[in-house]
Structures are given as structure tokens and as C-alpha cells.
């Protein structure tokens, strides 16, 4: 965090409605959120609370309805076209016909970066996510956790300012999930990238983020924001701190409030 006060993401009065009049769904209603550069924010809430919608708007995969969204002072579209955004999905979504290193280098290849340069960068990232030695493997030969590591490496290849993760560990077993949580904490520390993580797990949110945004459905909106002052660097031992359990309890309480609206 070079400048702790600079702002990476600014969302003002964002609303989004799906469908025609009469059967409208308020996916998002009056969302305000500011994320400092280098921050780690988790979005949590039940299905239909708009957390994935919000993430997709940040990544310019979805057009915002009303309101304003700025990333480093620019529109999500401008940032996406500049390759300033990395996105990790629930599925790894690797190309079966490419090796792992070719998959990780894909965004750079699409950007027109020469082979030697992009493969050097991909190699760096494979080392970072613990996939050294699997450069020439095919996605089909890797486990779900390894594929997801490759997807994270791919999202980081263009050195994005903003890393968006949509339930990236939802399909993994608990042990793999713990390990990848720590990888993500490590990546956040060494790269200083701003992270927005959508998750269903309050413990994952507390373990990783500086700020937990609890959302509620119908209409999708922010219920509350929990500041998380757990010391960094975080490790799996962080979970043994009394403050950790306090925050989890607080998070669950806020989530309950959301469910009571349902």
C-alpha cells in the first residue's frame, strides 16, 4: 500500500433492475461502496443478494443500470480494455487444447505480447501459485485445486490493479480451500493488488479481508460493512485469535438480519 488514501473503486448510488415492467427484479438497489487501493474486500450474502452482479459490473461483464462506478477514476469498460482487471470465476474455465503455461499466458497473448516475454511472465506466476513443474501439463490432467491456481495465475498475468474473484474456491474441498486461501493472502501481500472476493463463507471472508460487506436480497443492497482489523500477514493460525471468532459471530449476526428480510 504505497498511498493508503488513494481510492481504487468508487461506487455511488448503483442500482440495477432486470426484466420488464410488472415482473422487475431489483438486483441492486442504491449501493455505495469505496475500496482503497491495495484493499481486500469480501462481498458476502445469500443467493440473490447481488454480490456476483456487483462483481460483474466492476469487471464490465454487465452494464450498470443507474449510478456511477469508477475504477481508478475511470469507467470499468476503460479499465477492462486497458487490461487492468483480473477475474477469477467459480470454474477454472481453462482451454482444454492448451498447456497450463499457454493458458496462463493467454491474456498476454491476446494483448499481442511476444511468446518469450509472455511465457517468462507465466512462469513467474506459476511459481507464485505453486504450479512449478506443471507448465506442459494439460488442464484435464490437473486436480480442481490446481486448475483454480492456474486460473488465478492467468488473472494476474496482465498485472491488474483490481482482482475480482467470484466464489473461486466454492467447488473445492476444505483442505485445498484453506491452502488456496493462504496463497491468495500471500499474492495480495506481494503484489499489492486490490481484491474483491465474493464468497459464501463468513470464515473465509474474515480470514482474508480488511472489510466485509454483508449484502441482503430483494432488493440486493448492502446491509452493513464490518471493519476487520486482524493483524497482517494472515495465516491459518489467525483463526485461533479471539478477535477472529468475534468477527465471525458479528458476520453471522449481520447475515441473520439479512435472512430475516426474506
Amino acid at each position: 500500500m504505497a498511498e493508503p488514501l488513494s481510492i481504487a473503486v468508487e461506487i455511488r448510488r448503483l442500482s440495477l433492475t432486470y426484466g420488464r415492467q410488472g415482473s422487475q427484479v431489483h438486483a441492486l438497489s442504491d449501493v455505495d461502496l469505496t475500496i482503497p487501493t491495495g484493499g481486500f474486500v469480501s462481498l458476502i450474502g445469500p443467493s440473490g443478494c447481488g454480490k456476483s452482479t456487483l462483481l460483474r459490473i466492476l469487471g464490465d461483464l454487465l452494464d450498470p443500470g443507474a449510478g456511477e462506478v469508477r475504477i481508478n477514476g475511470k469507467s470499468p469498460k476503460a479499465e477492462r480494455l486497458d487490461r487492468r482487471i483480473g477475474f477469477v470465476f467459480q470454474e477454472a474455465a481453462l482451454l482444454d487444447w492448451r498447456t497450463i503455461i499457454e493458458n496462463v499466458a493467454l491474456p498476454l497473448e491476446l494483448h499481442g505480447s511476444p511468446r518469450a516475454k509472455r511465457e517468462a511472465r507465466a512462469q513467474e506466476l506459476l511459481d507464485l501459485v505453486g504450479l512449478k513443474g506443471f507448465e506442459r501439463a494439460r488442464p484435464r490432467q490437473l486436480s480442481g485445486g490446481m486448475r483454480q491456481r492456474a486460473a488465478i495465475a492467468r488473472a494476474l498475468s496482465t498485472k491488474p490493479d483490481l482482482l475480482l474473484l467470484d466464489e473461486p474456491f466454492g467447488a473445492l474441498d476444505q483442505i485445498t480451500r484453506d491452502r488456496l486461501n493462504m496463497e491468495l493472502a500471500h499474492i495480495h501481500e506481494v503484489t499489492g493488488v486490490t481484491v474483491v472476493l465474493v464468497t459464501h463463507s463468513i470464515r473465509e471472508a474474515v480470514l482474508l479481508s480488511d472489510r466485509i460487506v454483508v449484502m441482503t436480497p430483494r432488493p440486493g443492497r448492502i446491509e452493513s460493512i464490518i471493519e476487520n482489523d486482524l493483524p497482517r500477514p494472515r495465516s491459518l493460525e489467525t483463526r485461533a485469535l479471539p478477535l477472529f471468532e468475534d468477527l465471525v459471530r458479528q458476520g453471522n449476526l449481520e447475515l441473520e438480519k439479512g435472512y430475516s428480510h426474506v
Binding site: L61, F89, Q90, A93, L106, T158
Partner: protein, 279 residues
């Protein structure tokens, strides 16, 4: 690592390679021998039955008689097979190219797909024997009209499979390309086309078998050379063993073409799940 150890692993590696080779050859042999045994048994029974029941050669010639007819007129048969092969190949390439273009247009334009699909289905249901005379009038009595009939018969499967294949991409992968600000051309060549390749090969395999049928049917209608011409003329003179030889040759032509396409498939889409051993 010590020299002894590395030497040990090296010879271990070559031993592993040798045993892998043995395994592979055994697997190939295991694939090959059942059809060979069946074929030899069938030919033996056929030969024996023709002799034992004194079957008239024009009803069912014995394998030895077919062999005799094939070898005595070998040069002439090969020349005619070559003509048919050329017609089938040219028609296959032209028809497949047309099918690929049409299928791509359909995948990208709902209007084109909706508007032209009924017409295409109608065209595809027309019996080849009905359309062939018309095409021969349009394209003349030479090889060109045979190629045109073949092309007409062998574009539909690829058009359909191309369209389906180009539409079958993973939506999350499409999001990955969008996040990476990929151009439409990059999205086509690096994502949609590779995803479509297994479908493309289904279409090509169908096309390649239809192409031999198309060439022979066209020769039936009008020709002065080709396997279809040989079958027609031998039928008129009741030279049945030679007709059988021409028929078997046309089947072999289709099989060879099919195997070539199957080999190309292994080369181009080795990554696909259907290519894994044991499938």
C-alpha cells in the same frame, strides 16, 4: 546425482519405453485381430458355399472369381477408381468448404440461420438421383458435374456441425476472453473454432463417406469413366465378378478416405475427451 544412479535411471527409462512399446503393439494387435479373423472366416465360408451349392456366378460370384476379375483388369479398374477418387475428393473439399462457411454464417447470424435453414433442409432431402441430371445439364458431361453432385451431397453435415460447434463454447471461457479484451477475430480463432473442432470432424467424417456415394451416383446418371461407369457397364453385360470388384473397390475408397479424416482428427484434437484411451 551420481553417475551410477543416472545410468540406472536412463536404462530404467529405456526399459520403460520398451515395455510401453510392447504394450502399445499388443493393444494395436488386440484391436486388429478380431476383424481380421471375422473377415478370413467369412471369405472362407463364402468360397466354400459357392462351390458346395454350385451358386451361379452372376447370382453370387465366389471371392476367387472376384479376385480373378480384379487382377485381370487391374490397370483399367485402378484408372477408374482414380477418377472416382478424384471426383469424391474434389467434391468433398468444395462441399466441406461451403459447409464450413455456411455453418459459420449461421452460428453468427440468427437471421441467416432462421431464414436459410428450411431451404437447406429441403435441398438436403432431395434424392441425389433426382438432382444429378439437373446438375449434369448445368455443369456439362465432364468431371466437373460429378464434382458438383458430390459437393452438393457433402456440405450439409459439416454446415450443421460447424454451426453447433461454434455455438457450444463455454460461457465462462467467453467471459475470460471478454475480460482480456479479446477482439472478435481472436475469440473466433482462439476459442470458438477450437471448441468446434470435435464437431467439425463429425461433419467431415459424414461428408467423406457421402462424397464417394455422390461421385458414384453421379457417374450412374451419365459418365464414360469412373467406378460408377464400370458398375453400370458390367451390369449391362452381366460381368458380375467385375461388378463386385468395382463395388468392393468403391467401399475401400470410402474406408481409406474415412481413415485419413480419422487420422487428421487425432492430429488436430488430441485434447478432446473422446480421444482418451479406453473410449
Amino acid at each position: 546425482m551420481s553417475d551410477a544412479l543416472s545410468a540406472g535411471t536412463a536404462s530404467g527409462k529405456s526399459r520403460a519405453r520398451a515395455s510401453r512399446f510392447a504394450e502399445r503393439s499388443a493393444a494395436i494387435l488386440g484391436d486388429i485381430w478380431p476383424p481380421v479373423v471375422v473377415l478370413v472366416a467369412l471369405l472362407g465360408f463364402w468360397e466354400w458355399a459357392c462351390m458346395a451349392f454350385a451358386v451361379k456366378p452372376y447370382v453370387l460370384p465366389a471371392p476367387s472369381a472376384i479376385w480373378e476379375a480384379a487382377t485381370s483388369g487391374f490397370g483399367q479398374l485402378m484408372y477408374n477408381a482414380g477418377i472416382t477418387a478424384w471426383e469424391a475428393l474434389a467434391g468433398f473439399v468444395i462441399g466441406s468448404a461451403m459447409g464450413a462457411v455456411i455453418g459459420t454464417a449461421f452460428a453468427y447470424s440468427r437471421f441467416m440461420a432462421r431464414g436459410f435453414m428450411p431451404l437447406l433442409i429441403a435441398a438436403n432431402t432431395i434424392p441425389t438421383v433426382a438432382i444429378a441430371p439437373i446438375i449434369i445439364i448445368w455443369f456439362g458431361h465432364g468431371i466437373g458435374s460429378k464434382i458438383a453432385v458430390t459437393a452438393f451431397l457433402s456440405f450439409f453435415p459439416l454446415a450443421l456441425n460447424m454451426m453447433k460447434g461454434l455455438q457450444s463454447y463455454d460461457r465462462v471461457v467467453a467471459d475470460v476472453f471478454r475480460i482480456s479484451a479479446a477482439s472478435p477475430a481472436q475469440t473466433f480463432f482462439k476459442m470458438r473454432l477450437p471448441t468446434a473442432m470435435p464437431y467439425v470432424f463429425v461433419g467431415l467424417k459424414l461428408n467423406v463417406t457421402f462424397s464417394v456415394i455422390g461421385a458414384i451416383v453421379a457417374e450412374f446418371i451419365q459418365a464414360d469413366r469412373g467406378l460408377g461407369f464400370v458398375i453400370m457397364t458390367t451390369y449391362r453385360t452381366m460381368a458380375m465378378p467385375k461388378l463386385w470388384a468395382a463395388m468392393i473397390l468403391s467401399a475401400l475408397l470410402g474406408i481409406v478416405f474415412f481413415l485419413i479424416v480419422a487420422a487428421l482428427e487425432r492430429l488436430f484434437v488430441p485434447w478432446h475427451a473422446s480421444m482418451e484411451p479406453g473410449r
